[in-house]
Amino acid sequence: MSSRAVFGDFTGAARRQLGSQATLRTAAVRGGHVPEIRHSLLRLLLVMSRYVQDITLQPVRPPCLGHPPPAGWDRAGLEAGEALRRALVGLYGDTVSRRRPGVQAGSELARRLDGAALSLTYGRDLLHTHLARGPRGGVRYRSEWGKVVTSPRVHQALLAELGFLARQLAPLGEDLARSPRARGGPAARQAVTGACHWLQIMDTSIRRALREDPLPARVVEVLRVVPVNSPPPRLPADPTRAAGSLPGAVIDAAERARHAAWISAAQPPWPPGMTVSSLRQVAAANTFTSRHCELLLRSLATPASGLTGEAGTAVPAAAEAAGQARVRWLGIAHALDQITTSSQEQFTPTAAAAGDLALQTGRLAHADPGWSPGNKPAHGRGPMGSLAHEPDETARLLAAAHQACDAMNRLASADRRHVQALARAGRLLAAADPGPDTLDMLGPLAPAPPDRTGALLTLYEFTARASADAATAISEAASAAGMPHRIALPEMTSQAGDWGDPAAEPEAAGHLAEAQAAYEPGRVEQTLRGLGITDTNLIRRGAQIDRATEQLITQAAASEKPSQADPPATSTRTLQNPAGRDQERGSADPPPWLPLATTSPIQAEGAEAEP
């Protein structure tokens, strides 16, 4: 809904560029210059290994006396890093096949690998826009998303995404080895095959972690929606703009407000432009914004919106919560009437962003792209909510209101810090002896007494909470209505349960279902692991034996004539349903002879999209 690039755009592009397993296998069968493919695979695995390095920057303590060996996701991260390192060692060393930058690969397979490598590189760059290195080498957040992208759960989601790619790539070695159209010496073939074996191990390890400690769908969604750290640009007012674009404009304005709040927090004691005028502008604009959200939600609560049952009560409750936020913001506006600073009028970026949010929410609430304060709503088409007849429209309106309330929460917290800093510096002034019921502020001005400052800070705290409560209430209303919605910015907690959300984006649920496809190690590997063996070489050999066994069984089964009850076999079945994949499905999954298009949305997506 926002115009900003998000991480999922790049992982999605990488998946599409690789294509489904069937597409990738077809590309492998078509062959090509193996040293070139080897080099393209090297580039892709290099990017993947950088991702793994990023998420295992905090080194996991190696097993030693007194410390248990790493388990679960920690172990998966270590094993993935080690598998990629070994794969890269095997692939390095071929300087002859390196292409100049900008020169396209000759084979389809190499082109697909190059495309995926490039997309993943951009995706990694996007994540890094939220982080910086501090003077002592530590990680510094450059945006509010910094905390998200460094959280263990999001790291695990990233590892799961890499595991998916590893699984896609793992069969390539054998396919290429069997392809009569692949050209190149045995060394290059051996390097690719060896790397693919390591990818198989990486996939195995990650899927084992997924099985032991499943990822909630919301975590996958959070990773997908991490935006680039650059606030969306502010577009000039355009009265002819379609009303359908108004929710997106609110979301963009909310992003800008959150960004401004974050930047202001990162500045020293008090921003130079911080004045009582800025505080007043934020309070007044947010009073307006919360009123707009309240209007919007109330108009959604009408019978015309079709929201019934739990949603029928949750939406009015959300409107009530937005009304409470409005009361709180107005309370701050009143309190600031009797406070001043020695300099005024300069507006901080937070004040400008809050004003813009009020403007955009006003346009949405009045369904009028040309609306502005002072331009009365007679020009509008009526409350936007009453015009929403489709669930999609209602979902967009709820998302916009949710993001606006979340942004107000951040602005309240940011201004609370500003008030604190101004008070500490003695720049917050009040009339020394204010008369009753007078707002003239005449008489000597003195630094605001602590009780006055304390009361103002408490007001900000309550207001931040009321805004957050409104955001939560809207989120709950969306969940009650069964509408997928994106969280504005997840709060990071250590409790995995906090991430669960039944209304998370269905796309994320699809990705997760794919990633979490039940994995059962083969008998040999299972026995080795059961014996407590962690040596990756031994595990790898065990997995190879298991895989060879599966292949033998699958080939034997394929040579048998299918029974009457079975659908007719097609020549594509072998490609779509390669040996070894069937066993990875859960027992409730369809039998292996069903076309793959019916089982996984991700594979279907990849098969349709040709680069």
Binding site: E345, D437, L442
Partner: protein
Amino acid sequence: MDRLTKAHQRLQEADDLSAIIAAAHEGFVAALTALRAQEDPDSAWFGEFVMAAASAADGRDALLFAPSMPAIPGPGMTVTDEKAAAGTGGSVAGDIAALCGLAAVRLALAAGQAADPGDQATCGRAARCAQRICELLAGAGA
């Protein structure tokens, strides 16, 4: 006579810089008081009144720091027992817009004529606040 009308009259009659600043200050206080008294979430003017109140407080504060602001309030400036404003949201908005329109003009002229840079800056700042209030309440009475 309500406070808005009285402040409007004082501003019209002010004949020197100090008197203009003092009358404009009283005008901002009167506007702020009237706007706060008229805040009704169900009113079509609610948002505009809240935004205008912020500008009224800013205008008042700007003049507090003007070098030519009289130290002791003049006669009639501290009267608080009279009504802030009379009428409905729309008519009060119209009265405030008229008062602030006058303040914007008089303060802008005063800023141009003041000798003290402090007065120039504060009058200019207050004039912009008055102008902003006018823009917000422009639709009143239309």
